[in-house]
């Protein structure tokens, strides 16, 4: 069984919801990324999402666009991200999924990517610009090697699309909480609960919710209706603000802990 599935089984038995923080690999630097991952784990992360930078981040808001630019300046590439996780595996067994736009993976070679990722003990991938319709090659290889392919459902997804996406997704299903790009919002969308119930009608797979969740309160409230809460921009923004602060790791760890405590308060 894949580490992601194991984690969700464990959490389900405990009646708990997963906390999934996102950071962009190589922001502020490649040497700090592993330390940040370990700090997030200590802070209560169940799974870590590592962003692979791409020059055209068209699903992202300003905060992650900024992180992407910094990572690209640091010459971060998909192969460096894979190598980084391989090294990191000496220190942690936390499930790790990559979040990458499709072109870096396409260019790397889809089959080769899955093989190398599995070899580096990466557990799965989220590709925001790859709908299931175009994912057959990826899917086939991923099934063979028990590599999770996490597809996204959005508030605009129609029923036939939800059916397709839930069928293609392994690990969990990523529900995009809003119509828009990544980034913090003042308020949660009122449609989250209803839409998650709709998705549940088609699948028993765990459902994670991301986009627009940035505070402890928002994280806790979202946790009440789903199986995993994904927080990206709020963490990335805090990293950016403190990138020259020697207490960076402490600050990020502390923020993760706060989010995690909120999420773990919820019992199913």
């Amino acid at each position: 069984m894949n580490r992601i599935d194991e984690r969700f089984v464990k959490l389900r038995n405990e009646g708990k919801v997963a906390f999934i923080p996102f950071i962009t690999c190589g922001d502020p630097s490649l040497s700090l990324t592993p330390k940040l991952v370990l700090e997030l784990e200590k802070g209560g992360a169940d799974i870590v999402e590592l962003g692979v930078p791409f020059s055209e981040p068209l699903a992202d808001g300003k905060v992650i666009q900024g992180a992407t630019e910094r990572a690209l300046k640091n010459k971060v590439t998909l192969s460096k991200v894979i190598d980084l996780v391989k090294d990191l595996r000496k220190e942690t067994d936390i499930p790790i999924v990559l979040l990458s736009y499709y072109n870096p993976i396409y260019r790397y070679g889809i089959v080769r990517f899955v093989e190398d990722a599995v070899r580096a003990s990466i557990d799965g991938v989220i590709i925001p610009d790859l709908p299931p319709e175009e994912a057959d090659i990826l899917k086939e290889k991923a099934m063979e090697l028990d590599f999770a392919t996490i597809f996204l459902v959005s508030p605009t997804s129609t029923e036939h699309r939800i059916k397709l996406i839930t069928r293609y997704s392994t690990g969990f299903i990523y529900y995009v909480s809003l119509e828009g790009t990544t980034g913090m919002r003042e308020r949660l969308e009122e449609t989250i609960q209803y839409n998650i119930e709709t998705i549940r009608a088609f699948t028993n797979k765990p459902i994670g919710v991301g986009f627009g969740i940035g505070t402890e309160d928002q994280a806790r409230r979202v946790a009440e209706v789903c199986d995993a809460v994904i927080v990206g921009s709020a963490i990335v923004s805090l990293i950016d603000k403190n990138k020259d602060n020697e207490k960076l790791l402490e600050i990020i760890g502390g923020f993760a802990r706060k989010l995690s405590i909120g999420i773990k308060k919820v019992r199913k």
Binding site: E56, I105, R107, T156, S157, G180
Partner: protein
Amino acid sequence: MLPNGKGHFNLDDTFFGGRFVPETVMSTLEELEDFYLKIKEDESFLSELNYYLKEYAGRPTPLYYAKNLTEKLNGAKIYLKREDLCHTGAHKINNTLGQVLLAKKMGKKRVIAETGAGQHGVAVATAASFFGLECEVYMGDIDLKRQSLNVFRMELLGARVIPVYSGSKTLKDAINEAIRDWVTNVRSTHYVIGSVVGPHPYPMMVRDFQSVIGKETRKQILEIEGRLPDYLLACVGGGSNAIGLFHPLYNDPVKFIGVEAGGKGLHTRHHAASLVSGSLGILHGSLSYVLQDLDGQITPTYSISAGLDYPGVGPEHAFYKDTGRAEYVAVSDEEALEGFSLLATTEGIMPALEPSHAIAYCKKLAPKLEKDKLIVVNLSGRGDKDVQVVEEALRRK
């Protein structure tokens, strides 16, 4: 005819095109495709669109025998398809009238667009003003500066122009920003893509709206010369004017040549020749040739012509290239400027810098051909918008 239902232009076990976009717009693309496939067979929609193309945009445009240019180059007989005479000064209006009318019929209240040279932006602003829809246009900050006249034109037409400061601040970044707007406002807004790029059904739909160019050309040349041309020449950025000219003659024994922006030369990094020197990749929703590095990062492009300054190209062109149906070449900034001057001084027509590339290639090709050969060059837009850029470039020489 191509593409298939997934928007794939299939070739052996690979394809070009497809739909590589965030899930939020997937159902909208499905809806758009369904609506478009219905409406393109709908007589009342087509006759309404044709009416506007004729009475409002000024179609059909002339297929003009460029006698002076032909004599000067002393080779094949050269015809110019005068898209520069369309309302707003370029072929872009063919597509925007179609798409904005379609958006209105779909019940959308707002249209957005990206623009490079500003010609597409002006054409969308025009159509939005005409059909009474709200309009916002994204434009890279660099393009905004080099095409300031078009910015003012869009504003005069009632559109809001939004500067884009991210990335390389040119067309590709304007598209990124337009897509971000679209995923945010997808229920109310139609995204009017200006070229045969983007996710399915855009490459097919924009091609169909631009095919009026090739359909007219085919009819006109048969009337004038009693036979089909030997060569069709058009500049290629995203590739809409070229596909519009080529596609209706796909099954005819006519050679297609697409001319890309060679910028400061293909041996430098300063060009925008995706087909001539790019590789396969995914950009802005479809699989085609793109300019990228080994890690799949899109590389910055350069061309004196803002409308060709784009690191990707429509998937149908990729298909034409790999099947050998069309040939793609590149000419440099300097050659394009010579093309501009050549047409201005022989025919009294100032071409836009984009079709100046096609004229420049015609200058090389025509003298090599027999006098009974026929070349049609798509004069996709007029050069008024470029006068300042040309002046500066000529002064630097």
